[in-house]
């Protein structure tokens, strides 16, 4: 769990630090946080960058946890209740939503952590870098650099359903994914909603909001449970979170995706996000950032090759 010797006596706990098997990427883990990090540059610069990222990460979780009650409470749209740097990023990311929907700063925790560590990582001489926090990714993309991002709708099928090339010209520096199958609870039924946004924390907050909007509120087959029945201290309290989604008809999938897409388009119009891809049971819709080419639910590309079984289909 921990290293034999903490790097510095002033730090209460030491995260787990390791290079991945490829010898290039750095893995940092502490409690529920897993970061996969890559920086490109001269060897000694990368080494120094990884050391700086590790230093920033050490104690980060402790600082967050010191302000946990405030981070778990519904966010105010105009008052920041927290003082830590990561906690402030979280609040800043969710504040624009706070007047419209229920949201807590926790909705942006993964993206904010990625962003904060990325900031420490980017030393002079680093030409490109990212911090991937469990699918929520902060990007460093200076002039001349680009990233190709591939989109996978389900982990059990190794297929890329769309790609987007992000360059310096693009405003996108953050990518985040949210869905009911993920580690965090969702109020919606999206298998995944992936958002491209100017920052990782913004992307994270928006992914949460859009994923919550992909829903069929009156569908009787969707299993929902009070969040605090599952995790007593969940920031979602007694709100119903999705635990199982039955096989949906093409019409139901389209309805749910359209509901989410409307929210995503609204966020696009207001400049809060740059692109979105929404997935429900094998169907994908997208908007912005080159993701428009992902078909709409009514598109021919989504007509199943085989007819839907009459009954009982639930997964896979």
């Amino acid at each position: 769990m921990t290293r034999a010797t903490p790097p510095s006596p002033s730090i209460r706990r030491a995260p787990q630090v390791a290079l991945l098997a490829d010898g290039h990427r750095l893995h940092l883990q502490d409690g529920p946080i897993d970061l996969v990090i890559e920086a490109v540059g001269a060897e000694d610069v990368v080494r120094a960058a990884y050391a700086a990222a590790t230093e920033r990460f050490s104690g980060l979780l402790d600082a967050l946890c010191d302000e946990l009650p405030a981070l778990r409470a519904a966010a105010s749209p105009d008052f920041c209740p927290v003082s830590g740097p990561v906690a402030r990023r979280m609040w800043q990311a969710v504040a624009p939503f706070a007047g419209e929907v229920f949201i807590t700063p926790m909705a942006a925790v993964a993206g904010a952590v990625a962003e904060d560590v990325l900031q420490a990582l980017v030393l002079p001489g680093i030409s490109r870098a990212y911090v991937n926090n469990g699918g929520d990714i902060a990007l460093y993309l200076p002039e001349g650099a680009s990233f190709t991002v591939g989109l996978v709708d389900r982990p059990d099928q190794p297929r890329i359903i769309g790609t987007a090339v992000l360059s310096f010209d693009s405003p996108v520096r953050g990518v985040a994914t949210s869905g009911w199958r993920g580690r965090s609870f969702s109020l919606g039924i999206a298998d995944a909603v992936t958002i491209l946004a100017p920052t990782a924390a913004q992307a994270d907050a928006a992914a949460t909001v859009v994923a919550n909007a992909v829903d069929l509120p009156r569908h009787p087959g969707i299993v929902r449970t009070q969040a605090n029945d599952l995790q007593p201290e969940s920031d979602l309290g007694a709100r119903l979170v999705t635990r199982a989604v039955p096989a949906l008809t093409a019409g139901e999938r389209a309805e749910a995706l359209e509901a989410g897409l409307a929210v995503a388009r609204d966020l696009m119009r207001r400049g809060r996000i740059s692109g979105a891809a929404l997935h429900v049971q094998g169907e994908t819709v997208g908007t912005g950032a080159g993701l428009d080419s992902l078909s709409s639910p009514a598109g021919a590309a989504f007509i199943p090759v085989t007819p839907q079984p009459q009954q009982g289909r639930t997964h896979a």
Partner: protein, 498 residues
């Protein structure tokens, strides 16, 4: 340090526990996990759940299985390729590389460096095919197979020396009553995880099935498969019986053999004995339906072998004729001699016939239950949205993408989708789980080579489940099952791959 405190979680009055594995200090309800999905409350005890199962090739050489242990300091060693293959067992969504639907960030200009390929699939289209090595009558074809009174499958075809059952499937899991689904899921889960399950067949037997173990039919453990049908047994052993008995009857529910009438007996110049068999004669010395199917001699319902013969033909039979009855497994045998009235009288079996009985037994293979998990992972592949959907599907069919289940090789059905079968005994222990849908959760891994992916269109630079699993924390290294091909050595893997 953290590790000392982790070992002693503070129990709370309502059995929720405070996890102090990290400063989040989750308050975890019984049966639930904390925010990290890594630690859970198991009846008031803090446990690390669903440990990643790592097949560590090096363990095979040492022969030791390193027990899962989250205590102790991390020594900085990380699991390295290619000696380690990370299975999907317990993968869940814990690690970033395995989280559903990640965007993938490239480390190359045109490539992509993170692809989620290790997962636990949720299968409601799944079941098990059970092969039960027995000649005993388990029940009529198409009969309903029940567990705890609920229909969970049916009897399908008989195979040579075995009876096949088809259990589970989407209709029992989700198409019937709620209880039916739950009981079916439970039975499948237990069978897949190598546990014994009692099955009751309508109009047939009660059989206890456990993968890799002998079936127990109506309370009696089956020991052997038959050496052959009754006729084949005559052919195999005729020469060895010559001179030791005047007549041999091999009792079999399928074809009962009679030595003196059989071609093998004719070739040895064995004279007629005047025996009169019941049942329907097929060809000389081969009889169908000498009795009803059952759990007695040779898969028939008889316990007295004389019940399948009529009175001896007085014109042919001689007093003193030696009669040897044996079943196709050698489990039952009896010896008679004809008295002055040409009636068979049981006598102590001569030693050489006892030895012959042993020989028949020796040539029977041990009777086992085989459980093959079968599931379809085709749904998500079906609606092609990729640039090259056909090529992607084909990559699995062409074994460019190697599919394993818990590191075990699978047979992938030809045709559409990814429908596969795997021998559950080739997976590590407790590899299967369930969700209350109800559906089974089974590990499935897709391993792709870079060159194969480039051939597909070059979106991914790497699709392999080798990653950031530190040893000691939440990993359960297990020695690979020796018969399984190494998943990351495709040249050996593909050979056993359908």
């Amino acid at each position: 340090m953290l590790d000392e405190t982790v070992a002693a979680p503070r129990p709370a009055a309502d059995e929720k526990i405070r996890c102090d594995a990290c400063p989040v200090m989750c308050y975890i309800k019984p049966g639930m996990t904390g925010a990290c999905d890594r630690y859970a409350n198991d009846a008031g005890e803090l446990v690390r759940v669903d440990p990643h199962v790592v097949l560590d090739r090096t363990l095979a050489q040492g022969g030791n299985i390193v027990p899962f242990n989250r205590g102790g300091d991390w020594d900085g060693k990380i699991v390295s390729s290619p000696e380690t293959f990370v299975t999907a067992i317990g993968a869940g969504t814990t690690y970033p590389d395995y989280k559903p639907a990640p965007f993938i960030v490239s480390s190359e200009v045109d490539g992509v460096d993170m692809v989620t390929v290790v997962t636990e699939g949720i299968f409601s289209y799944c079941g098990v095919k059970v092969k039960i090595d027995t000649d005993r009558y388990l029940g009529p074809e198409q009969a309903v197979v029940r567990a705890a009174g609920e229909p969970i499958g049916h009897v399908t075809t008989s195979e040579y020396g075995s009876q096949m059952l088809s259990l589970g499937g989407v209709h029992h899991l989700t198409g019937g009553g709620k209880k039916e689904g739950r009981v079916t899921c439970d039975a499948l889960l237990n069978l897949c995880n190598g546990k014994a399950v009692e099955l009751v067949i309508d109009g047939g037997a009660t059989v206890v099935v456990q993968a890799g173990k002998a079936p127990i039919v109506n309370g009696v453990p089956e020991e052997r498969m038959r050496v052959g049908c009754g006729s084949a047994t005559i052919g195999m052993f005729a020469k060895q019986w010559l001179g030791k008995a005047d007549e041999v009857v091999v009792v079999d529910d399928h074809i009962t053999g009679v030595l003196s009438e059989h071609q093998a007996g004719k070739l040895l110049d064995i004279p007629d004995t005047g025996i009169k068999m019941k049942g329907r004669r097929s060809t000389p010395g081969r009889y169908f339906q000498v009795a009803e199917p059952g759990t007695g001699w040779g898969g028939t319902n008889i316990s007295d072998p004389l019940s399948i013969i009529g009175p001896f033909d007085a014109k042919v039979a001689k007093a003193g004729t030696r009669l040897f009855f044996i079943s196709t497994t050698g489990e039952h045998s009896a010896y008679y001699e004809l008295d002055e009235t040409l009636a068979p009288v049981e006598k102590p079996m001569p030693e050489d016939l006892m030895a012959s009985t042993e020989r028949v037994k020796e040539n029977c293979e041990p009777a086992l239950c085989t459980v093959l998990f079968m599931a379809g992972a085709g749904g998500s592949l079906r609606s092609g949205v990729t640039e090259n959907p056909v090529r992607l599907t084909r990559s699995v069919k062409d074994a460019l993408t190697y599919v394993t289940s818990g590191g075990a090789p699978v047979y992938v059905y030809p045709g559409g989708g990814i429908t596969f079968m795997v021998d559950v005994t080739r997976l590590p222990e407790n590899a299967f789980g369930y969700v209350p849908t109800p559906a089974l959760v089974a590990p499935i891994e897709f391993t792709l080579k870079l060159s194969d992916y480039e051939a597909l269109g070059g979106h991914m630079s790497e699709v392999r489940p080798l990653a950031s699993i530190p040893q000691g924390d939440g990993t359960r290294p297990v020695a690979p099952i020796s018969d399984n091909p190494w998943p990351l050595a495709p040249q050996t893997a593909k050979r056993s791959h359908g």
